[in-house]
Subunit: 187 residues, 2 copies
């Protein structure tokens, strides 16, 4: 099929919906973030890209720690809310039940079935965003999402964001198994 050229800003892949937590001036703050990916295999590292002017980055710079929690579909309203209002103007510390892990300065969300706390490894300054790269220091999972001690996506039921149509999606049908589906094509 012939391709049409569209504007660069219109490209986004399907994105994980997460809440990034930081302690800002002693107050737990949570920000909705979908620009998130694992970035290193060993040790396990992840990165989040945050608008440079947001409230959360100041807390991350202050403590050199942050968290990432994955909400389920039952938290759509609260999750979206944390992307609509800034911690500069609204205290979001009471939106969720907050807990802390070993790092003590990376607030996490009890209602989220899967949370990680990270230590900042590097911050890459980009034109309008900060790419915060962290070492995963602790992972906290609800027993209800584990199968044989490992996260099970069917139980976790994470949310996926697409843009520019701006929808949160649940996962649907399984389309195949990774590292399996292509074996028939190997000579």
């Amino acid at each position: 099929m012939a391709k049409t050229r569209i504007a660069p800003a219109l490209f986004t892949p399907p994105m994980p919906v997460s809440l990034v937590g930081a302690q800002v001036g002693g107050v737990a703050n949570f920000m909705t973030v979908a620009w998130l990916t694992r970035v290193n295999f060993d040790p396990p590292m992840l990165a989040v890209a945050l608008g440079s002017g947001h409230h959360t980055p100041s807390g991350i710079r202050e403590n050199k720690t942050f968290s990432v929690c994955l909400p389920g579909a039952g938290l759509v309203e609260k999750t979206d809310y944390c992307g609509l209002v800034s911690g500069k103007r609204v205290d979001k510390s009471g939106v969720f039940d907050v807990f802390y892990g070993d790092l003590e300065t990376a607030p996490m969300i009890a209602e989220c079935p899967l949370c990680v706390e990270c230590v900042v490894a590097q911050i890459v300054e980009l034109p309008t965003n900060l790419l915060v790269i962290g070492n995963i220091a602790g992972v906290y999972a609800d027993d209800s999402i584990l199968t044989d001690g490992k996260p099970d996506a069917a139980k976790l039921a994470p949310l996926v964001l697409t843009m520019p149509d701006n929808h949160y999606w649940k996962l649907g049908e399984v389309a195949g198994r990774a590292w399996e589906a292509g074996k028939a094509l190997k000579k």
Copy 2:
């Protein structure tokens, strides 16, 4: 609910399934990549995290360009195949119909409904991976996935990977609208 601690390596968010293209020694090569995110708003930039020892990074360093294409569910087998075999040993240039955009050295996949070509802005060297940050130079979309000239996720039908259960998923039900669902919680 009480949380159980699990190993850091077991944390991955839901991930976009993509094929990263590069010209390596004059030959088009494609590698399955799910560690991908947008990283900068303006100008539009994205990043992909690749194992340092893979074949694709040498082509990216050679030309300072690469591509990212999003396959639909009909391409599960070929997409998975590109993650099972290395371009060091197998010529993958014939797996798909290849086209080029303005950059001329970023091979893209005609069968994928949404492709971008990027110019390398920065490569962040991490312990086992390279985080390749690129400026989005061109976006090429099938007319069939556009609504009012913009990508429509329901038509694009992208694939999402979850680990460690290793499933490719289609999108399912809409769980809410972003920047809308939380408005009721604003005072």
